[in-house]
Structure formats: C-alpha cells, structure tokens
Amino acid sequence: MLDGLAEFPRLLRVYDFLTGKFGGSILGSSFEKKELAIKMKREDLLPVLATLRHELGFNALADVIGLDNLRSAGDGGARFSLLYQLYEFPGFARLRIVVDVAEGEEVDSVTSVYKSANWAEREIFDLLGIRFAGHPDLRRIYMPEDFEGHPLRKDFPLEGKPDGV
C-alpha cells in the first residue's frame, strides 16, 4: 500500500480498481509529491487506458511524455519510457501511466481512446523514434520529412549532425 495515498480517496479508488482488474500487468507504482504513477506492461496499455477512460472517467489525456533513459537507466532498464498523463474532470484527479519501451519496439497508439494523443505521439516518433502501431498518419511533426535521426535522443549531438539538413 503506498504511503500517503490514503488521504486521496479518489486516487485510492483508482489504484484499488486497477490492481484488482490488471493486477498481473502492473509492474510497480509510486506516489511521491501527491502524484500517483503506475508502471504497466507495454502490451496492456490500450485496454488499461480504455477502462480508465470509460469506467473511471479519466476523460482527458493531458500529455504523452517520452523519456530516453540511455544514461540513467543503468543496466537492464529499457531504453525509452512513455508517460501518459491523464486527468479526470470534474474530479480533478491526476494519474500517470508509465510504460517501458525497448529500442525498436512498437507501442500501440491510443488515438482511438484519446484524440489528443495524435500529435503527441507524432512528436515522440519525430524526436525519439518510437513507432506507434495503429496511428492514423505517423509522420514527422517538427522536422522536415527527409531529416534522418531523432534529435531528442541522448546520443544525438547537441550541435546537430555536421552533414545534417
């Protein structure tokens, strides 16, 4: 039981519901600074988000954050991790679903559940190179089409590639 979660009944209810329904696929959860974060297996991302949206009322996806853990993951950790920041109106509860993605793995896109994920996933594809299966039109959003490489990766030089576009 995470300490401090008790005073937040709404988050507690969500946490119990999720551990009940998806017990197997929860890899870990943390509750610091009054923010609940639950780490999930990559495969069950879509069903979890679907239930969160339809049954628990998390009707808006604020942001999808892509992390490159090249330097901080240490050994064994996955190269990338994706954070889905959800919030629920009118309860104003916040929830973060964390999913680890190894190099070259595909994550299924959540645009079917949350429309605002469309550009967020395109941005992550453009800057980090994580592909999203089932995304309506997965194209680069910032960089020109013929740009090779993904700038936000830790191994991408800050000054940019010398011969780059």
Binding site: K33, A62, D63, R94, S116, Y142, F156, L158
Partner: protein, 364 residues
C-alpha cells in the same frame, strides 16, 4: 463536371496565422472540406537545449515559449522546479507572482482579442487593445527591465521587491483599463456584423472538447468549468476570491466573451493581492549551483492560453535529465479541424483567432 476541390495553402507567411503556421486547406468554393495545420517552422529544439542547461539558466529560455505571456511560462517552470525540490516559497513572493501572472494574463488576453478583431476586420480594436497592453508592458519594464521577454521569476521567488513606484504604477494603469474595455465591448459585443461573424462559428461540444484535451478559455466557453487556479489552487490562489466565467455556446463569440470577462477577474485578483500583500522577504535563498536529488514532477498552471504544464525529471546533477513542456496551444490547435468543418474559408481566420494559439509554444 468532375468535382475538383481547390487546394489552398494559408501560411506560413500569412497575415493572420499568428506566427509561422501553415494550414493546408481543401476548399470547395469557400466551404472548408478539410484543414491540416503544419507546424515546425519555429522549432528551436528547446527541450534538447534544456537538457544541457542548469535549472536557473532555463528560466530565461521559457520567456520565448509563449512570447505573449512570458511570465506565465516562467511561473509554470519555476513552480515545477520548486515542487521538485520541495522548496517553501515566502508568502510575499507568492503574492507578487500572482500579481505578475495576472498582469500577464491581462496582456495576453488583450493581444488575443486584438488580433482576433483585426482578422475579422475591426482594425481599430487591435490598436485600442494594444494601447492598454502598452501600459502593462511598461509595468513589466519598470519591474524587471524587459517588456516582452520579462524573465520575471527566479527559482525561489521573484527578482525584485514590489516597491512603491511599481505598485503606484500598477494602480494607475489598472484604474484606466475598465473604461477602455467598455469601449471595446461597445464596439464589438452588440455589433451585428461581429455577432454574425462569430456566433455559431467554430462550434465544439463539451465532450469533444474534453476528448481532444482542449483547455483554457476555449474549454470554458463550452460549459466545462475547468480552471486550475480554482480547482487545484497553486501559488496561494486560494486566498483570492474571483469567479471563473463559463458559457455554454462553445463558439467564437463565447470564447471572446470569456476572455473579456477573465480580464475583469484578473484585475479583481490584482487589486486584492495588492491590498493583502504581506511583508517579508521576496525570495528564498537558493544556491547558485543548484543540485536537485533524483525525482520527477508534472506540474500545471492556468496560463492565459490554457493548461500549461512542465514535466521535469532530475538526476541529482545541476542539469535536468528531461524537461517536457505540455503546451496548451499545441493541443488546442488539434481541435481546429473539428471546429472548421463545414464553415466558410473566411471563418477559419476567426476560429484561429479565437483559439489564441502562439507558435513559439507549439513548436518549442
């Protein structure tokens, strides 16, 4: 005759796309069939830069995100870092921050209403809005020295104390604003052409708005009372009483009315904050070479354009591991397609103005 839709290209250098945004439109003689915003012309790679700068060095860079509301960007980033460090901010600094943030909201809404009115043709309203906005920029210039890139926040508080000169200037400027706002409303609110160009245009339902993550005045115009200052109070907003204007129409006219109303509420907050300004220090002591233990935080504030958030992950060094900005304009722009469906080509300009997007924040 084979149906051939006209492929139109608006931008990236177009008078009313508020910066370098390109809109690919398919138009069947004036009726918009499909619209696809293309962004990236102002991408400066902020997030890559941030990974190589120390925490205090990032603050001036956040000025350049939403360049019409620099102080709000500073506030969002600075509050996120302070939450990450669990740093206690003195009450006086919080009140000064609220005053600066609300002044910035006033200036940003004035710019938004001015640009929108100018796009729809009422060009004098733009000049009247900017006349008022100049007064607010002068306050910023007297307080921190910068008009647009204000750099008005530091980690731990505010750069200078709010001395008598600046307070008197704020009171004098605020005294003149209500009368000017009444003039603008007199020019627009009842004007039949304005109502015709904005009522029932760019409609979006509350469910669609929430599903697409719309936030800010655009969301509050669809009837969803979501204002982070009220619902998840930060930076001692709970000490002030102000109400959140919410309308049901969900069209361009209601967004305009919500913004005008929010300007009045901001002035109310500033007056209360000036009266109840507690004594004390205006900046907590923070070491110059700031090192933050490992942790992560996602913190959002109610910026003029919508819910502006910062996700910061620290790795114990003085440089953040990752800083991601959740930009309201980036997400609001995605619902432009839904709003423009079936409207005419000349409405796209009005809808884009009512969404109040800023490209610096979208392209990062």
């Amino acid at each position: 005759m084979a149906f051939k839709e006209l492929e139109l290209n608006m931008g990236p250098q177009h008078p009313s796309t508020h910066g370098v945004l390109r809109l690919k439109l398919a138009v069947d003689n004036e009726v918009v069939l499909s619209i696809e915003p293309i962004i990236g012309y102002l991408h400066r790679g902020m997030e890559k830069l941030w990974e190589n700068l120390t925490y205090p060095q990032i603050v001036p860079l956040t000025d350049r995100l939403d360049y019409l509301a620099a102080v709000s960007n500073n506030l969002a980033y600075v509050l996120a870092v302070e939450k990450l460090m669990d740093l206690e901010i003195p009450k006086r600094a919080q009140y000064i921050r609220v005053i600066l943030a609300e002044l910035q909201r006033l200036a940003s809404h004035l710019a938004a209403v001015g640009f929108m009115a100018n796009d729809i043709g009422a060009m004098s309203v733009l000049l009247y809005c900017f006349q008022i906005r100049e007064g607010i920029l002068d306050i910023f210039e007297n307080y921190t020295g910068g008009r647009l890139t204000v750099h008005g926040m530091r980690i731990g508080g505010v750069p200078f104390d709010l001395d008598e000169k600046v307070t008197a200037m704020i009171r004098k400027t605020l005294a003149g604003i209500p009368e000017k706002i009444r003039d603008i409303e007199g020019l627009l609110n009842e004007n039949r052409i304005w109502k015709h160009r904005t009522k029932g245009i760019g409609l979006i339902s509350p469910e669609d708005a929430l599903a697409r993550g719309l936030t800010g005045p655009a969301l509050r115009a669809t009837g969803v009372a979501w204002d982070i200052r009220k619902n998840i109070p930060y930076c001692s907003y709970e000490d002030f009483d102000f109400d959140v204007p919410v309308l049901k129409g969900g069209d361009v006219y209601d967004r305009y009315i919500v913004r005008m109303e929010e300007m009045r509420q901001s002035m109310r907050i500033i007056e209360q904050a000036l009266e109840k300004l507690p004594p004390g220090i205006f900046r907590a002591t923070v070491p110059h070479s700031l090192k933050i233990p490992v942790g992560e935080v996602f913190f959002t504030i109610e910026a003029p354009k919508g819910e502006l958030g910062f996700y910061i992950k620290s790795n114990g060094t003085d440089k953040p591991e990752r800083v991601k900005m959740k930009s309201p304009s980036f997400i609001n722009l995605q619902s432009l397609e839904l709003m423009c469906k079936g409207n005419l080509f000349s409405d796209v300009v009005g809808i884009l103005g009512s969404l109040d997007i800023v490209l610096g924040e979208i392209d990062k």
